[in-house]
């Protein structure tokens, strides 16, 4: 009894410890709840309006929508893989460069963030068109005879999306690389490992959490992309977000648009969960 009495005030003290941070976060939390969660929930409800799952049935069985959904996931996969191949060496450079080199590198990496997405996308149209800068250069130097189809197709969309999303791959990998103890690489070398073996057996496994985080981030961001595929795809590359917009603007079918959004959200969550699982089972040591 005596112990219970002495414990009781302590427990309530514990509880009040959480009250501070909660009060601190209450305003932003209320903001999110009111202006984000409530509208999203309302939008989702639209998809099952009238108590029917017909919208979902259509989204998941109609050949067109299934094809576009799979195509969206495919583009997301390509974008994340290209970002990985380009971003990993960049992250390594930034993580090992001198202070000054790293600063310059970061400025270049962040420069795109300081320009509007729309401006950047139109700039790509100028660069990649049949008569664009890239093709004219290639033609005049005699590298190609016919202009390359770089715009209004998947190639153009991939180029534009990789450009926008590359920093989201570089940063997580960079931050993990910074934490890798360089002494481990020296130790591996001293124990007889060749540079290639050091990379495969030590550096790559140690930086894998960053790779998975970057892949997840880029993939999830890319499957919701709208402006870049709409402009650089020229209507020929259909991604799910483009279709959703069409439903709302052209067909005024809010219910079906909402069903497509929910499917996209579910796909993103599923992939996120899969990556989390990979992270947890494979990388317990980090």
């Amino acid at each position: 009894m005596a112990t219970a009495q002495t414990l009781e005030p302590r427990r309530s003290a514990r509880r009040s410890e959480h009250a501070g941070p909660l009060a601190f976060a209450s305003l932003p939390l209320a903001f999110l709840l009111l202006l984000f969660l409530v509208p999203v929930a309302r939008l989702m409800l639209l998809s099952v309006e009238g108590g029917t799952l017909a919208h979902y049935e259509r989204a998941l069985t109609d050949g067109l929508y299934v094809r576009v959904l799979l195509g969206t996931l495919e583009i997301g996969l390509y974008v994340s893989l290209i970002c990985l191949v380009l971003g990993y060496p960049v992250a390594h450079f930034l993580a090992t460069a001198s202070r000054r080199e790293a600063t310059v590198g970061f400025v270049f990496l962040l420069l795109p963030f300081w320009t509007s997405l729309l401006v950047r996308t139109y700039a790509w149209m100028v660069l990649l068109g049949r008569n664009g800068v890239v093709n004219r250069f290639l033609l005049e130097t005699g590298v190609v005879r016919e202009p390359l189809p770089l715009l209004y197709n998947t190639t153009g969309v991939l180029i534009g999306m990789v450009h926008v999303l590359l920093p989201f791959m570089v940063f997580p990998i960079y931050s993990i690389m910074r934490r890798v103890d360089r002494g481990l690489l020296l130790a591996a070398e001293g124990l007889g490992a060749t540079p290639w073996k050091i990379f495969l057996r030590i550096y790559l496994p140690l930086t894998l959490p960053g790779v998975l985080a970057g892949m997840t981030l880029v993939f999830i961001l890319s499957i919701g992309f709208y402006i870049t595929p709409a402009l650089l795809g020229g209507g020929r590359v259909l991604m799910i977000a483009v279709l959703i917009e069409k439903q709302v603007r052209e067909f005024l079918d809010w219910g079906f648009a909402s069903a497509l959004s929910v499917v996209l959200l579910a796909a993103a969550l599923l992939i996120y969960a899969a990556f989390r699982r990979l992270l947890r089972s494979d990388l317990q040591w980090s």
Partner: protein, 370 residues
């Protein structure tokens, strides 16, 4: 340079590891200023020096992580000065162990064997054997972060010896361990090194550790080897002021050498005190350092005699368990540190007591002054 070693050119032929004329500069700073050192097969040599003495740079040059500006490194007769670390076949234990965090104990220890394309069955066999040798047979499947500091240390040790390295390098490996564990690991390392017949080079700033572990000690300061010798030689017969001061506790006085009518040498120290000293090769009139280790002076009773007798007042008592240290004020400004086993004097003397202590010239040693 003052060393007891034969010149490297002569020793290089039969020495297991031979360094000759090693120099390494970083801009204006000379980290290693001409090192000659010959280590015999099966020997454990310690490089002892304060931080900044160049000992770690020297170790990196031997391991291949750093290249010298001048000089030659020979291992088993072969010039490896510019060989890559991977080609040298040297086992190294790092300060922070450098265990691969994503690999189990077993895979960590197997790593150097895998890099040498040793057959799988043989890897398993040797890893098991070496893990038993360091007492980690049961922990093969653990990850490094699941181990204690001492266990991690053992894994690092196992990994560095599993491939029969031509040389074992240890870079302050006990720094992160608490005292008791440190002493235990020191003895274990020595036992393992003996048992495997390894030639080892050990770097530390801890003079006590160096005295315990080494066959020979090279005391380094400012990029040079000040003295090379057995622990006994280094402790009892330091060649200069730096070594006398750095290794062990000491009473060191600066004095001018002279001789009395009978030709017995004495030193006149700064406070004007006359101290009888042993016969040495130092010239009369030259300045010398007079060294008396704290355990040498003893209490002098009535009618007892010693070559040097001083009276002092105890100003400080430092209890260190098995022994007690007393700081005696002798004269106006000079202090004498003495250390006696607790059994002998324990508790009977206290601060403020006046005592008479004495020691013979055979308890003393003279060193060159800087």
């Amino acid at each position: 340079m003052l060393t007891n070693s034969p010149p490297a050119s002569a020793a290089g032929a039969d020495a297991h590891l031979a360094l000759s004329g090693i120099v390494r500069r970083f801009g204006d700073v000379t980290a290693v200023a001409g090192i000659d050192l010959a280590v015999q097969r099966g020997e454990l040599v310690t490089i002892l020096g304060p931080s900044g003495s160049g000992k770690t740079t020297l170790l990196k040059i031997i391991a291949g992580f750093e290249l010298p500006d001048a000089g030659v490194v020979r291992l088993q007769g072969e010039d490896i000065t510019f060989a890559t670390p991977a080609k040298r076949g040297i086992g190294m234990v790092f300060q922070n162990y450098a265990l691969f965090p994503h690999l189990t104990v077993e895979r960590n220890v197997a790593f150097p064997l895998e890099m040498r394309s040793v057959p799988r069955a043989q890897i398993r066999e040797r890893v098991t054997a070496v893990l038993h040798l360091v007492g980690l047979g049961d922990l093969a499947a653990r990850l490094p972060r699941e181990l204690s500091g001492g266990q991690q240390q053992r894994v690092a040790l196992a990994r560095s010896v599993v491939f029969d390295p031509g040389l074992l390098l240890l870079d302050e490996p006990f720094g992160a361990l608490d005292r008791k564990l440190r002493e235990q690991m020191q003895l274990e390392v020595k036992r393992l090194q003996r048992r495997l017949g390894l030639t080892a080079l050990f770097v530390t700033h801890d003079q006590e550790e160096a005295l315990v572990l080494s066959d020979r000690i090279a005391v380094m300061s400012e990029g040079r080897i000040e003295q090379l010798g057995t622990p006994e030689e280094i402790y009892a017969h330091p060649v200069n002021w730096f070594v006398a001061d750095f290794v062990g506790e000491s009473n060191l006085f600066r004095g001018r050498l002279a001789a009395d009518d009978a030709g017995r040498p004495f030193a006149l120290i700064a406070s004007g005190t006359r101290v009888n000293v042993p016969v040495s090769s130092f010239a009369m009139g030259s300045e010398v350092g007079v060294l008396v280790r704290p355990e040498r002076p003893r209490l002098i009773g009535d009618g007892q005699h010693a070559d040097n007798v001083v009276r002092g007042r105890i100003v400080e008592v430092i209890y260190v368990g098995e022994s007690v240290k007393y700081r005696l004020r002798v004269g106006a400004a000079s202090d004498l540190l003495v250390r006696w086993p607790f059994r002998e004097r324990g508790g009977t003397l206290k601060a403020g007591d006046d005592v008479t202590v004495g020691w013979n010239v055979s308890d003393m040693h003279l060193v060159a002054v800087p």
